[in-house]
Symmetry: D2
Subunit: 384 residues, 4 copies
């Protein structure tokens, strides 16, 4: 198969945030082209957006249902290979299932669905169809994060004891959802966002990052969630204490009222002999700490990095990569795997390193558990 992979899109009109990110990430590596889309529930917005993306009018659809049906009938050489779903959470599950039913692979933004039940059901559909799904937990896409994971995997630091993961933002410090801000509006609305606000939107990222790097599983959680803004229906701040399956302890802090913070994802993990620190806003540096020698400033793009980090790096040392490249790593690994599958070949192990439906289910469990723990003052620990 000597052609680019063909992507369709649900959501992602020209006024949307995350849809634009997905396109930048998908196109960068010249492996994927956009061939069709239903970019909005408003047909005129969808058509206008499609035009901006240089699509022919007949590949821009009024509904996703129409898209899946018509695309499925196109000849193999024309129709899309996979669909990217970038709608608000409540509108993930239905198009995903329909896409799978029509034979299309799926890329989907996190959290994977509105409820845990939907996530489990989506996994069954994937098992049934044998199709691929990638979930864009972008922070796991950074090469320095993969380096951290690799170093714990190979045992550099001994047994893990302590995990501190945090995700402070400040953008919801005021009641932005009352000002017409589209992002704030749906993210604070339980009907569209689900049972968690801050914890669903960004707590899931922090939790995924912690389990991804450490390879551990959370077994118990204790939490305190708050909606600081009067009238806000979902949590805008929370802290959780975590216990892991190896006996390690953790703390997860997520906030959208940390006034003045941008998007300060940060994780520290400590083992017996040392540990790591990584902060997303300066993503090309991994701090590696030791009990008996100097802290090392491990940098992406340099010769000493592990193979998995190198595979996910595009530029040499000192030429900083960022959020879009981390996002693109998910698309690239997904597309390498998909292409191998379409060619009847075995994907290389490092290509399989993208978040999938299992991560999605794990995220929905996290949301369920943190919400259960977060408002009940009588129960200290919730089993995970």
């Amino acid at each position: 198969m000597n052609r680019k992979l063909r992507m369709g899109m649900v959501g992602g009109g020209s006024d949307a945030f995350i849809g634009a990110i997905h396109r930048l990430a998908a196109f960068m590596d010249n492996q994927i082209e956009l061939v069709c889309g239903c970019f909005s529930v408003h047909p005129e917005v969808s058509q206008a957006s499609g035009k901006l993306y240089y699509l022919p009018a007949d590949r821009v659809y009024d509904t996703y249902q129409e898209m899946f049906e018509k695309e499925a009938k196109l000849p193999e050489g024309d129709r899309m290979d996979f669909v990217t779903i970038v709608t608000p959470n409540f509108a993930h599950y239905d198009p995903a299932v329909m896409a799978l039913d029509h034979g299309f692979h799926v890329v989907i933004d996190k959290p994977i669905t509105l409820t845990l039940e939907q996530a489990v059901s989506l996994k069954e559909k994937l098992d049934e169809t044998g199709l691929l799904l990638a979930l864009t937990h972008v922070y796991a896409g950074y090469p320095a994060v993969k380096e951290a994971k690799e170093r714990f995997r190979r045992g550099d630091f001994g047994e893990i004891r302590k995990v501190i993961v945090e995700y402070p933002q400040g953008w919801l410090s005021a009641k932005l959802e009352d000002t017409g801000n589209k992002q704030a509006s749906w993210r604070t609305d339980p009907k569209r966002s689900g049972k968690a606000g801050c914890m669903g939107d960004i707590g899931t990222h922090a939790h995924h990052l912690a389990e991804y790097i450490t390879g551990l599983k959370t077994t118990q959680i204790s939490a305190d969630l708050t909606a600081f803004i009067p009238g806000r229906q979902l949590d805008d701040d929370g802290t959780a204490m975590l216990r892991f399956n190896n006996g390690a302890k953790g703390v997860l802090i997520a906030s959208q009222i940390a006034a003045g913070e941008e998007n300060a994802v940060k994780i520290r993990v400590y083992g017996e002999k040392g540990g790591i620190e990584w902060a997303q806003q300066e993503p090309n540096t991994l701090w590696v700490k030791w009990t008996d020698k100097p802290t090392e400033m491990v940098r992406t793009g340099l010769g000493y990095m592990s193979d998995i980090a190198k595979h996910n790096t595009r530029t040499p040392g000192g030429h900083p990569e960022g959020y879009l490249e981390a996002f693109a790593n998910i698309y690239r690994n997904f597309s390498l795997t998909l292409r191998a599958r379409m060619n009847g070949e075995e994907p290389q192990p490092e290509w399989l390193d993208f978040p999938d439906v299992e991560d999605g289910i794990r995220g929905m469990q996290f949301i369920d558990k943190v919400v259960e723990a977060g408002y009940d003052d009588s129960k200290k620990w919730v089993d995970f």
Copy 2:
């Protein structure tokens, strides 16, 4: 009174850690001189230390009891004015009480006593004698910390919503107490250290810093404490979730098994309009964050600092001060207050800004509560 204040010392032999710090801090400003001491339970160590400190042999005592008795009988122009107690926790209370009974003011290292009861009793003794006590919660001595406190006090950021305070160290990642390390030995021994290990040694600092800067009081605490090193009798790691009297939420992380960390005290406090971040290892910078304008790098020694910060700064901008100067600020404010008292004058308000017995009681309450909460999986919140 035109002379330096005269200090005696209990503990602080030439092989001790914190005693050396107290002397550096006390002498720097040329306001205090060492006139006597009982530097060790071993008389020969005490004498040898006294010689190194250029004391005459007859002012170096074998026991603190002997010291207080003999010094009290010296003429007013010769005898010490106050005593600094820098022994392990279990040996704070008795000499402090005896010093007060003999008319000597007291400086004491934290935590103030071995138990909350002792702390309360010590306060009664202070009330009774009308003497002064300073507690060396050093982190409250930094000018940037005082600047932070001032900015919250005057309302720059609106109501406080979230406090994140952390104190990770890595020095107890191995079982150092089995290697003959004197510091590790007493700090992990409940008889000498008290009911908490990590939380008593450094958690108290973190808690003090949080309440000092915010002016808030903790009302409820939930915690998870761990002793990661097999055979260690006291906690070497812990996380606590906090609730404050204004409705703010907090998290306190303290660890001595955060392998590779030095002494990474850090606090972030967020209000409605912005917040602050301060990290002790780069102590001359206070980060001030805003929802609507750039983060500011507020620096000690510069003209725009508030009066309270300036009062606690010795050098101009860009000439970094550190831990010893923060420590010296406590001694300086204590000695300014004491000198005023001895001169029958009213101390200026900024001189009174040093931790005292109330902070000590608060610290012992914190230890009690965090230990109560930290091992009980059945009770989520402990009232403070």
Copy 3:
């Protein structure tokens, strides 16, 4: 014109460095597609590369001459719109002139040509044909750099007094050109690189950045160039003192033997009232300094940024952009301008903000002058 712009490429085979960067940058925004190329002087490498880029075999050419001739004969709806030239310096001029002669716009890597004469001649050809040329001085593509330029332009800091620009790298600390390293080999070879080594490769970037941000022109230069590695034919290190047309003074440091440095481009500019600092390895932060108030951490993606910075930013605050996005900004502005021209419309002023042939000539003058000054111990200042 509702289609992507069509790009051809000279150089940029699958084993090349800068060609890959150009493609990533060009494709990201979905405005440009690759339609043809001559990717190597070795036809088999060119064909293999073209296949990897999903080109049909008949649009992959053995020579650039063949490419320009054949593409020029294709119907308007098929043939390329512009060519990107990413060969070593000595092979810039000829294909650029031939492209222009056949009616193709040009994107070219820096330095623009091998000699100043070629650069001047290229400008004449551009004037004659009326076609567009973009020069990829990538560091001018960063939004924080544009913000810095804007703030000096509008006079925030008063008259500029001092400029410190530096570009240390360490990758040529050993004689890499003897090890078969392709990048090192041509860059240290006067026949392929030109009369300067380090100063041509990276000194030109530093000089461009300084003049771009300040809006000043260098009038005099004094320099000391060195080839530290025995047998190396071109400078691998140098310092230059600069004088500017408004009386400001500057210093430019470029090195490829700064062992342990990655790609540490940094610039500081001081005016009467304050100044800026920007370091490329953490590119989303612009430090803004003042004589009388705190240093500000100005961050890309935030609401207070100027319009020109916002126009060149793709992600919200805290979602770091990097080198590829800076590079892509040049392609995007070039393509916006080109599209407007092709549509007979007036480009918006901010679209014209990409380096062009004038910057290229300025760069070649810098190379001439710094080399003239850099080896002559008898002449202190060379007029610029």
Copy 4:
């Protein structure tokens, strides 16, 4: 000799800057006591200052001449051991010579004298009397600087190739000397400051630091000096290119019009295999860079530091030391050496590590040469 060393002081009244620094540094370690002084040319200021320093009135003198004469006649057990001279530059030489003539050792602030001739003459006097002199080049007192020196001395990085040392300040961005500012007034006055302004005040520090760490000697200098503020008589900004005796190249940047900078001393030195970076405003970190492995964050107070760094450190890792402790290291090494001399013992090698008259002469040569080079556009290199 079991007593503190006795210090007298010339200059350093209660309104002076550097005198206060000297006292803080001298007293901290409990090795030195102030016994007398002539703190001002105004007798009443001198007396008032002496009272603040708790001196008896009869040890506070109206003139330094009177002080040296009267102190010399006091019994050995009472009179001062050494004098610290902290007057403006023009008033260094005469009291220093007179002190030596009366048998007193000397500590003196930099630059050592007003002219090179005076410095040479002072050395002759020292040789003649056999007394000690310490020069307070404070930046050489930092433990991380000593660690850097040690690592180059033992050859970790191979031959040194490049040195970049800089000292930007912004405090003279406006014409402060016209506002009654005492510090600005004498430092910009050739009669009191000498032939250089910025280069004498802070350029000498930068030059000393470069030669101290590298162990190299400057052999040639090229410079461009400027007085940016109209009417200012001495340079307030300058850049110098340096050549060293081993063939290394360097650049020295000093400025007092770098608006918004505090006291940003920074040095980078590169050898064949790696190098170091140290910035005074975060002085406890030494960055160690390598061509083939991660940059290391080497930190004062940690176990892996070399003996010379440990000898000059008072606190454990993570308890930051600063400017005053660096200053105190000079006093401590001077006093250890002096005490050994007074006891007829051989000082340990590490005690001798304080700047002395040779460093002072070197500094005066630097001033002479940089001024000679800095205003002559016809001569590129001045031999050093």
